[in-house]
């Protein structure tokens, strides 16, 4: 299980491959599901130039670990990544990666979706966007369901 907050930019697909290479899962997993969230240059009809991600050191990590451990039990996952940016994020950079490995697709698909929705609704992160009309805190996340 990899839970990490990272200040530097990352390539989600390379992260997923290198983590998978470090595991000894060949032959055990039959399904990989992933979600990658990436920085747009617009939000609610406004041009966005960059954003800053604030978090609650200690609680954010703890909350993500709880989500991950519950998911591993509930869906019988073989392994899992939750990787999230903090600090300044530029246009086109990856913000979040959730990846889940399981024997069968149902567990990987369902857990990946559920983890992402739990992260969006409960993990203590806050986005402040720099827009064409000044800096603005994002007020809330909408449900993905």
């Amino acid at each position: 299980m990899l839970i990490e907050l990272r200040k530097e930019s990352f390539n989600a697909y390379q992260e997923m491959q290198s983590y998978l290479d470090s595991l000894e899962l060949a032959g055990k997993y039959g399904a990989t599901a992933s979600f990658v969230g990436t920085m747009r240059d617009f939000n609610e009809d406004k041009k966005v130039t960059f954003m800053t991600l604030e978090h609650y050191p200690g609680m954010t990590e703890k909350h993500l670990e709880t989500i991950a451990k519950e998911a591993i039990e509930k869906w019988n996952l073989l392994d899992l990544i939750i990787l999230h940016r903090i600090g300044k994020v530029k246009i086109g950079e990856d913000i979040v990666l959730v990846a889940a490995w399981s024997a069968h697709r149902k567990d990987a698909f369902e857990s990946c979706r559920a983890i992402m929705e739990q992260l969006k609704s409960g993990a203590p992160f806050w986005k402040k966007e720099e827009t064409s009309s000044g800096a603005k805190w994002v007020e809330k996340n909408t449900s993905g369901f």
């Binding site: 969230g37 991600l53 604030e54 609650y56 969006k120 993990a123 806050w126 996340n141």
Partner: protein, 78 residues
Amino acid sequence: MQVSVKYFASLRELMGEASSVVDIEENSSVSKLWQSIIESKHIEFDNVMMAVNMEYVKSEHQLKSGDEVAFFPPVTGG
């Protein structure tokens, strides 16, 4: 008793500080602490989220001396 209080994001900016130590009566609830803070600061803030010792709590959660209490707006990660 004393508790330490942290604020994040837009609430931190509104408060003008990231943290403070607050004196409050023994056995106060977290919502009582919140009310006393917003009254003393003369601010209004809707939809506040509350955590004690890095776990979400309900507003009636009873505080203990030395607790770390956090108030923040709805989360917007991901």
